[in-house]
């Protein structure tokens, strides 16, 4: 069982940028049209620094950026089950075609590349982790963030981001209805800040319940905005019991 404060959060999906957009979505969750092109502007970065940011990196930076103060050092957790599938497919296609690989794309073709880009662009020198789990990657990423709090950090950033995979992956990837990124700034439940909400998260034995209709991170945003106090996310043998405690 873990407990943490969500001090602040941001989310992005195609057509869902402002808090008001997300409030509308939370009232009536639906799949957002995703043309695989629309991406956040990341206007806080000069063009030269945006040149190596893929779409998933932009989504990650756009949501995480305002949650970290100027000059603040925060542990960073990047969670993504599938990673940058369009770039992966491009590299694999080049190999099949006998074409040389783009040095830039090859250099960024590791799961922690986006965490590295965050570190460079924000001058972050502390702990950073990149994890990939199953459909409950969101809960595992939060566990990693809470472990950073337990290790002494006053706050930690957790970003879970997925990109709509290219059609070639349709047969294998069923849990990304549209691209999205959710960034949470976690704090301790006894922190002096009064902003945000406190949550208890407990893992129990799954009972074969139906998987969540939405990616877990998006369903959390929905519950957060809908003022829901308890809900469950079940994946295989793992049932995650969520409870709002403040």
């Amino acid at each position: 069982m873990i407990a943490f404060r969500v001090e602040d959060w941001r989310a992005w999906a195609p057509g869902l940028e402002s808090t008001a957009d997300w409030q509308d979505w939370a009232r009536a969750p639906h799949a957002m049209p995703d043309d695989a092109q629309a991406q956040p502007a990341c206007g806080f970065l000069p063009a030269l620094q945006r040149r190596r940011l893929g779409r998933l990196a932009r989504m990650t930076l756009e949501t995480a950026w305002p949650l970290c103060g100027e000059g603040e050092q925060l542990p960073f957790v990047f969670g993504s089950r599938h990673g940058e599938t369009p770039q992966t497919l491009t590299l694999l296609s080049d190999i099949v075609d006998g074409q040389p690989l783009s040095p830039t794309q090859f250099g960024l073709s590791v799961h922690n590349a986006i965490a590295g880009q965050w570190s460079i662009l924000r001058g972050q020198r502390g702990e950073s982790a990149a994890i990939a789990g199953e459909a409950d990657t969101f809960e595992h990423a939060l566990l990693e963030g809470v472990l950073q709090l337990a290790a002494g950090a006053p706050s930690a950033l957790v970003v879970v981001a997925e990109e709509l995979p290219p059609p070639a992956y349709a047969q294998w990837i069923a849990d990304v209805p549209f691209s999205y990124a959710v960034a949470l700034r976690l704090g301790k439940t006894d922190a002096t800040t009064s902003a945000g909400s406190d949550w208890r998260l407990e893992q129990a034995r799954g009972d074969g319940a139906t998987p969540c209709a939405w990616p877990h991170a998006l369903d959390f945003v929905r519950a957060l905005l809908a003022g829901e106090n308890t809900f469950q996310h079940t994946w295989k043998a793992r049932r995650w019991n969520w409870q709002r405690i403040r």
Binding site: A47, L48, R50, R51, R52, P100, S102, P103, T104, G107
Partner: protein, 94 residues
């Protein structure tokens, strides 16, 4: 702005640099032919150089040996890259 005029090949190379390196908000005419591409000029780095070498290979069928002592000079600016491409074309035409 009284930037020196680009030749057609220089504009083409400048556009190749922009497209290859994903330089948003820049137009070919915005890169002065003699501006250094690396370091204090446009601000490109060594990974960009590798990427540009690959683009030259794909677009102009020019191969630059990794031990080519002149590579640094060829990659100095849009003007020097254009001169290099033109000279390679001349060699091929002979």
């Amino acid at each position: 702005m009284n930037a020196p005029a680009h030749s057609a090949l220089e504009l083409e190379i400048a556009q190749l640099v922009i497209d290859t390196l994903n330089l948003e908000d820049l137009a070919a005419a915005d890169i002065p032919p003699s501006q250094p591409l690396f370091g204090d000029g446009l601000g490109l780095d060594s990974v960009d150089a590798l990427e540009l070498a690959l683009a030259l290979q794909k677009h102009y069928d020019i191969r630059i040996a990794s031990d080519d002592k002149d590579a640094r000079h060829h990659f100095a600016s849009v003007a020097s890259l254009a001169a290099f491409v033109a000279s390679q074309r001349a060699v091929c035409a002979d």
